[in-house]
Symmetry: C2
Subunit: 425 residues, 2 copies
């Protein structure tokens, strides 16, 4: 959805934020009364063509409207799609609600998409276990499963804002679209690990994917036993190839790359493996020169989805709903504050149910825009009291070249022409 020039509204309120119910805001919006002025409008004259013709046939697997083809995942222009890193971002500015459609879920591949026939794939559990086990898909499907609605975020999400010395004028999807939220269903890892039987010293698990990049990460055993599961379904259907078909590791709230896709083995060990991925790419340099390894949790974060970067407000003043998404790898969102004056004052946003553990939470706040320059910001706080830092604060913590786990407040500048752009504020 892009805001485009439309009909004129009637501004009725001077306060920037509207309190006391939405009806006030509604009065300011208004439908097109002039076009339908007669008490009984001539309906026949308005009968659309679609009512006069035979409709078309549907497909066995439904598709979006041909009129919505602009809503696609965004391929990162600098990455090849079949080798090394490939990045696809969710166009978050088009999403409403908390569920990201599977076709638009972000994805990062380390070596393109492997084509895996499910009947030839299996998961091995070995290492410090009493009974090494091999689970083919048919066997896994018989286990009890859990379903959870959780966000998933790439550790490198929002890298542009972390690294670029000046704010890039891009859409929200381009800037921060390596995060999505879906319903994941799978078999708790505790079932599989307990069945294999843990030997003394078992404290870590090395998870490896069956992709050409041999993507592998070490995870603490205790966390896997508590929270981890082998995901087989996403949003009610079997995982898609870009999400690790036929099975992936899922660790709620942890950075995307430890949720190993195309999972084919779990090796129980007494220490981390220091794989190439965790020793190099996903270790981050702090400002004091130390290396931050095994920083698993994604921190509390929020973004305003509408209005957002490269959108244009259709009228130079009037009612707008500011809305966005908040999430935290540590639990539920407790509150979101929104500012329209660059952080000088903040209003409490409405959180929309359901507010779920480690999931997208939708927030909104009604806004009466006076037509002057405005800087919109959102700041989320989770149930543990963690809050988003300002960009300057985040930058002070990490070395100049670091860009993982960026969760600073996102600011959008609205110009007097209604154009919205990314700014550092």
């Amino acid at each position: 959805m892009t805001f485009k020039p439309g009909r004129k509204g009637l501004p009725t309120h001077r306060r920037a934020f509207l309190g006391g119910g939405l009806a006030m805001g509604m009065a300011a919006l208004g439908g097109d009364a002039t076009a339908a002025a007669p008490a009984s409008p001539p309906l026949a004259a308005r009968m659309p063509d679609s009512m006069k013709t035979l409709g078309g046939a549907d497909l066995a697997y439904g598709q979006p409207s041909v009129h919505e083809q602009a809503v696609q995942r965004l391929a990162h222009p600098s990455t090849a799609q079949t080798a090394g890193f490939a990045i696809w971002r969710t166009p978050l500015q088009h999403q409403r609600g908390i569920i990201t459609p599977s076709g638009l879920h972000f994805s990062v591949h380390h070596n393109g998409l492997p084509d895996i026939a499910p009947d030839r794939h299996a998961l091995m559990v070995h290492g410090l276990v009493k009974r090494p086990l091999r689970f083919d898909l048919e066997r896994l499907l018989r286990y009890p499963m859990v379903s959870r609605i959780h966000f998933l975020e790439c550790a490198g999400n929002s890298a542009t804002n972390a690294l670029s010395p000046t704010a890039m004028n891009q859409t929200l999807g381009d800037l921060a679209g390596e995060v999505s939220c879906a319903e994941w269903t799978g078999v708790p890892l505790s079932y599989l690990l307990n069945e294999a039987g843990l030997k003394e010293g078992a404290t870590w698990v090395v998870a490896e994917g069956a992709d050409g990049g041999s993507h592998a990460r070490s995870l603490p055993l205790s966390a896997l036993l508590k929270d981890g599961f082998v995901a087989l379904y996403q949003n009610g259907e079997r995982l898609r190839p870009s999400q690790g078909y036929p099975m992936r590791l899922f660790m709620p709230g942890w950075e995307g790359n430890v949720n190993v896709k195309w999972l084919h083995r779990l090796e129980v060990t007494d220490q981390p493996a220091y794989t190439k991925d965790e020793s190099g790419l996903y270790a981050q340099v702090l400002d004091n020169g130390q290396i931050e390894r095994f920083a698993f949790h994604m921190d509390v974060k929020s973004v305003i989805t509408h209005p957002s970067g490269l959108q244009t407000l259709p009228e130079a003043r009037g009612f707008y709903e500011i809305g966005g998404l908040a999430w935290s790898g540590h639990g539920r969102i407790a509150k979101v504050e929104v500012s329209v004056d660059g952080g000088k004052s903040w209003a409490l946003a409405q959180l929309h149910a359901p507010v779920l553990d480690r999931a997208f939470t939708r927030f909104t706040v009604p806004w009466q825009w006076d037509g002057k320059k405005a800087t919109l910001m959102s700041r989320a706080t989770d149930e543990q009291g963690r809050s988003q830092p300002a960009r300057s604060e985040w930058k002070r913590k990490y070395a100049m070249q670091s860009f993982h786990h960026y969760n600073a407040v996102q600011a959008w500048r609205v110009g007097t022409d209604g154009r919205v752009e990314n700014v550092y504020a």
Copy 2:
């Protein structure tokens, strides 16, 4: 997912239902220990082909795996797709979790799929209003929206079980797949109707779609003001054509056909319009000869999704998770009971969070099958205390040819060969 012959499990428990934790059930399942007997299995020999080759490229709008093409919506064989009724059913037996993917959401069309360009579509609000209004899409997108996870069910769902004198041996999707659950996002109707201003006598609203079938239904104004919204998004993206693109009426918990698709006008009136759809098709004959009109709410209902019709249990005994979906048009699900002996005894199933208002609720119960004939049933009760009737009880209430609002208990017979079939029990 179809249960197919697999490896042998080791039955360890005699009780039909497993209490006291899932770990007991797990012991009965077992991975393939023999295939991985060495303490350190030779991993290199097991390296799958996908690790030795370059992966493929992805699509901007993601798609399911080519290996999952059997999971499609089921077109009702007796209905044309472009004229009259077309019915597409959700293959519920393949769904896990509570969200139905949009590509598999059930759909009933009254005249095929209209192709509607969003910039030429508008919603008119007229009739007993002070100020007739016309809302184009761009205008509607500026209004505050709500998001709700709700089931949607066709009034005629499960017609086969209602009408057929003998139980048809079909899949769950064929038998009861005109129900799905999604996250819907849109503008509350109270905003639009209050803005138009209601005149004295306003008590009903006639909603009409812009399809060639001119599908129209009358709804009580009070209910629309309380609960109704104009849905613009489904599962995070804009509505798909089969769900009414670019806008539809949504009334949580009410029979599918009142959720008018391709919505183009709402006429406020002082009485129902007795449209062809509500006077004919969606009125139902009771056993006493009276006609039941305006029966909006879908009642409490549940189905076991696994194991279900036409599946085959892979082993003649052993551990299985019985799982299914429950929902009610009157509120939340309070409990689901499961029987494996045709209704003689019942066990309380586990309800999986989130248990949402008028949404699918997932339930499971662990089952140790002794290999003998078994009849599986589920019976849901909602928070208002409404419970599913037996089929005989339901049939006594309605005339022989009636089939709407069928919510009787579904029974699956498991044969000694593991085959599952639909039975009346």
